[in-house]
C-alpha cells in the first residue's frame, strides 16, 4: 500500500490533467496546465529530484505557459484573446466514427504498454499508475481534438506521463541517463510548443491580411 501523500499527489496530478484537457474554455485550460506543471514540479521535489523540479518549473510551467498564452494572444496588458482563437469555448463536435478510428491506435499503444510493464519487476508506489493515467488521458485528448492548441496541451501531458513512468522504472544506477532523457524531453516539449505557438500567431497575422480563415486544423474554411 503506497503512502497516503503519494497517492494524494497522483490523484491531484490526474485531476489537474483532466481539467487541462477537457475544459472547454481555452484560457482556463491553459491556466489549468500551468497549475498542472507546478504540481509536477512539486512531485519531483517530493521525490528528491530537485534539479528536475527546478527544470520543470522553469521550462514546463513558466516558459511553456508563456508560449501558450502568447498563442492565445493573452498578454499582461490585454487579457482578451484576439483573432484566430476568439472562440473562448471552442466548439468540438464528436463524430463518433472518427473518434473510434483515432482511438484505436491510442488504445493499442496503451494495451501494449500495460503488457510490457507487467514484465518489469514491480516498481515504487503510485508513480507508475499516475503516469499510465496521464498517458491515457493525453492520448484520448490527442485523438479527440482537432484544435492545435489542445493538441499541444495533450502532447505536454503525454510527455509528463512518460517521464513519470520512466522515473518509476529506473534504479539508482541508471539515474544519470534517465535525467538526461527527461531534460532532453522537456526541452523538446518546450521547443515544440514554442514553434506551435509562433505558428498560430503567424497564421493569424496572414489571415488578417488575406481575409481568409485558415483554421488551425489545417483546412481553409
Amino acid at each position: 500500500m503506497p503512502p497516503f501523500d503519494e497517492l494524494l499527489l497522483a490523484v491531484v496530478l490526474l485531476l489537474l490533467a483532466a481539467a487541462t484537457l477537457f475544459d472547454r474554455h481555452l484560457v482556463r485550460a491553459c491556466c489549468w496546465f500551468v497549475t498542472f506543471a507546478l504540481a509536477v514540479a512539486l512531485s519531483w521535489a517530493w521525490l528528491g529530484l530537485v534539479w528536475l523540479a527546478l527544470l520543470e518549473l522553469v521550462l514546463g510551467a513558466v516558459l511553456t505557459g508563456a508560449f501558450l498564452f502568447h498563442a492565445l494572444g493573452v498578454m499582461p496588458t490585454a487579457t482578451q484573446p484576439r483573432g484566430l482563437l476568439t472562440h473562448w469555448h471552442d466548439p468540438v463536435a464528436l463524430p463518433w466514427q472518427r473518434v473510434l478510428m483515432r482511438l484505436f491506435p491510442a488504445l493499442a499503444v496503451l494495451a501494449m504498454l500495460g503488457l510490457a510493464l507487467m514484465e518489469v519487476s514491480s516498481g515504487s508506489g503510485s508513480l507508475r499508475p499516475a503516469g499510465m493515467g496521464l498517458l491515457g488521458l493525453g492520448l484520448w485528448a490527442f485523438a479527440l481534438h482537432h484544435h492545435l492548441l489542445r493538441r499541444l496541451l495533450s502532447f505536454n501531458v503525454i510527455g509528463t506521463g512518460i517521464f513519470l513512468i520512466l522515473m518509476s522504472l529506473v534504479d539508482s544506477r541508471a539515474l544519470a541517463v534517465a535525467h538526461g532523457l527527461v531534460v532532453t524531453g522537456l526541452a523538446v516539449a518546450l521547443l515544440g510548443t514554442a514553434l506551435g505557438a509562433l505558428l498560430i500567431r503567424r497564421l493569424e497575422a496572414l489571415e488578417a491580411s488575406h481575409h481568409v480563415v485558415y483554421r488551425t486544423n489545417g483546412r481553409p474554411t
Partner: protein, 496 residues
C-alpha cells in the same frame, strides 16, 4: 552485424578526439557565421564549405587502417558513447556533400527566387548548420540517449527550415509536420524509457548483449520503430511528406529528401539488427510495406500535376527500396546479408545524391519557366537544355539505369534477393523500376513538346545550374567508381 556497425569491443579508442569534435561542431559554427555574414555570393560559401570536408579528411586519416574507433564522453555521471567506422565515414561524407550543395545553391536562390522575408533568410544558415551537425551526431552516436538528442534536434530543425517560406500553405503543411514529428518523438521516448527501465543501460553494444526476447523488448522496439517510421515517411505514415515539400525552399527540400528521412531509417535498421536480429516475420511485414511504398509512391508520382510533387512522391517510392533492407538483412544467411548490406548503403548514398540533384534541377526548371506544373515544361528541351540535362542525369540514377550509382545499388539488392530466393522482393524491384521510368519519361514527354507557345523565360543564375549539374554528375558517374565506397563498407569489420 555488431562488427559491421562498428560496435564491437575490437574497435580501439582514438588518441586525439579533436577531429571528432570538429566534424560535429564545425557545420553549426559555419551556420552561425553565415547568419552574421549573410553571403549573397557563392564563392565565400564554397571556401567555408571546404573546412568541414578537411576536418572529415583528418578524422578518416585517424581511422584509416583499422576496423573502426569508438569511445565515450563522460559528463559527470552521464556516459555517452560514439563510434567511427567505414560506414560512418561514408555517411558523413554524403551529408557534407549534400549539405555543401544546398549551401552553394542557396545564395543565388535566396537572391533571385525568394522575395523579401529577410528574417527567413537570416534563419536559413544557422538552421542548415544545425541540421548537418545533428545528422553527424546521429551517424556517430552509439547510445540511445545521443540518438534521441540527435533525432530531436534534426526533427525540430527540419520543421523550422520547412516553415521559412512563411506562406500560408507552407505554414499549414509545416504544422502537420510538427505535430507528427512530436508524436514520433513521444513514441521514441517511451520505447527508450522501457528499455532503460528493463535493462538499466542505453549503449547499443551493451543493450545488444543484455536484451532478452520477450513482450517488453517487442513493445519497446515496436514503439521505437513506429516513431522512426513516422519520421522517415515510410509507407502508411508518409502523408505529411508531399505537402511539406511542395512549399519548402528548394535547397531545404534537397537536403530533407536526401538525408533527413534517411537518418530515421538508419536508426531503425540499426536497432533491428542489434536487438531483434531473428525477427524474420516482422521483417517480412516491413518488406510488405516496402513493396506497397514502391508501388503507391510510383503511381502517385506518375499521376502528380506539379513538378515538385513528382519528385516528392518519388522519394516515398524510393524509400521502399531502402525498407527492403529489413527482410533481406534479418534472418537471411551470410551471403545474402552481405550483398544486401552493401546494396542498402549504396542505395542510400545513390538516392541521397540523385534526389538532391533532382530537387535542385527541378528548382532551376521552375525558376526558368515560372510554372510549378508539369505542363509548364513544354519546350524546355530547346530553351534550357542544361537544367534538363541535370534533371535527366539525376533521373537516370533514380530509375537505376547503368552506369549510375543507383544501378549498382539496385543490382546488388537484386542479386541478394535472387541468391536468397526471395521472389517477392525481386518483383518489387522490377515494378519499382518500371514505375520510376514511367514518371520520369512523362516529364521528358512534356519537355520535348516543340510547338509550345512562346512564353516569358527567366535566366537561371550560373551557380544554381552548376551545383545541380555537378551533383547529378556525381550521382551518375559514381556508379563507375562504386568499388571505393564498397571497400569502405567491407572494411567495416569483416576481417578483424
Amino acid at each position: 552485424m555488431i562488427e559491421r556497425l562498428g560496435l564491437s569491443p575490437a574497435a580501439t579508442p582514438m588518441e586525439n578526439e579533436a577531429a571528432l569534435w570538429l566534424v560535429l561542431v564545425l557545420p553549426l559554427l559555419l551556420g552561425v557565421l553565415g547568419a552574421i555574414a549573410r553571403p549573397s555570393r557563392t564563392w565565400p560559401v564554397a571556401v567555408a564549405g571546404l573546412l568541414p570536408l578537411l576536418a572529415l579528411g583528418w578524422l578518416s586519416s585517424q581511422v584509416a587502417g583499422t576496423t573502426g574507433k569508438s569511445g565515450v564522453v563522460e559528463l559527470g555521471d552521464l556516459v555517452l558513447y560514439w563510434r567511427v567506422n567505414g560506414l560512418t565515414l561514408l555517411l558523413l561524407l554524403l551529408t557534407y556533400l549534400i549539405g555543401l550543395a544546398s549551401a552553394l545553391y542557396a545564395p543565388a536562390y535566396l537572391r533571385d527566387d525568394v522575395q523579401a522575408l529577410t528574417w527567413g533568410q537570416a534563419w536559413f544558415w544557422p538552421l542548415l548548420g544545425l541540421l548537418i551537425s545533428s545528422l553527424a551526431l546521429i551517424w556517430l552516436a552509439a547510445d540511445l540517449l545521443s540518438l534521441y538528442i540527435g533525432l530531436e534536434l534534426m526533427g525540430l530543425t527540419a520543421v523550422g527550415l520547412m516553415l521559412l517560406p512563411g506562406k500560408v500553405e507552407a505554414l499549414v503543411a509545416g504544422l502537420r509536420y510538427l505535430l507528427l514529428a512530436l508524436v514520433g518523438s513521444l513514441a521514441f521516448l517511451l520505447g527508450i524509457s522501457l528499455m532503460l527501465g528493463a535493462w538499466g543501460r542505453l549503449d547499443l553494444a551493451g543493450l545488444a548483449e543484455v536484451a532478452e526476447p520477450g513482450v517488453l523488448l517487442w513493445v519497446a522496439v515496436g514503439l521505437l520503430t513506429g516513431g522512426l517510421m513516422l519520421k522517415a515517411a515510410a509507407f502508411p505514415l508518409h502523408v505529411w511528406l508531399v505537402p511539406v515539400h511542395a512549399w519548402a525552399w528548394i535547397p531545404v527540400s534537397a537536403i530533407h529528401a536526401g538525408l533527413v528521412i534517411k537518418a530515421s531509417f538508419f536508426i531503425a535498421l540499426q536497432l533491428w539488427l542489434l536487438l531483434v536480429p531473428e525477427a524474420t516475420v516482422a521483417a517480412w511485414m516491413i518488406g510488405g510495406l516496402a513493396g506497397a511504398a514502391v508501388v503507391w509512391g510510383g503511381v502517385k508520382a506518375w499521376r502528380s500535376a506539379k513538378l515538385k510533387e513528382v519528385v516528392a512522391w518519388s522519394t516515398v517510392s524510393q524509400l521502399g527500396y531502402l525498407l527492403l533492407a529489413f527482410p533481406l538483412l534479418i534472418g537471411t544467411d551470410a551471403a545474402v546479408a552481405d550483398l544486401a548490406w552493401q546494396g542498402t548503403w549504396l542505395q542510400l548514398a545513390a538516392h541521397g545524391l540523385a534526389k538532391a540533384a533532382m530537387f535542385l534541377a527541378a528548382g532551376n526548371l521552375i525558376l526558368a519557366t515560372g510554372a510549378a506544373r508539369v505542363e509548364g515544361l513544354a519546350g524546355a528541351s530547346r530553351r534550357f537544355p542544361l537544367s534538363l540535362l541535370s534533371f535527366g542525369m539525376a533521373a537516370i540514377s533514380v530509375v537505376g539505369l547503368p552506369p549510375s550509382m543507383g544501378f549498382t545499388a539496385k543490382w546488388l539488392l537484386l542479386h541478394a534477393a535472387l541468391s536468397g530466393g526471395h521472389w517477392a522482393w525481386m518483383m518489387v524491384l522490377a515494378v519499382g523500376t518500371l514505375l520510376s521510368a514511367a514518371y520520369v519519361f512523362r516529364l521528358f514527354h512534356y519537355s520535348f513538346i516543340e510547338d509550345a507557345p512562346e512564353a516569358e523565360f527567366r535566366r537561371v543564375p550560373w551557380p544554381m545550374e552548376t551545383v545541380a549539374l555537378l551533383l547529378a554528375l556525381a550521382a551518375l558517374l559514381l556508379g563507375l567508381a562504386a568499388e571505393w565506397p564498397l571497400t569502405l563498407l567491407r572494411g567495416a569489420g569483416d576481417e578483424p
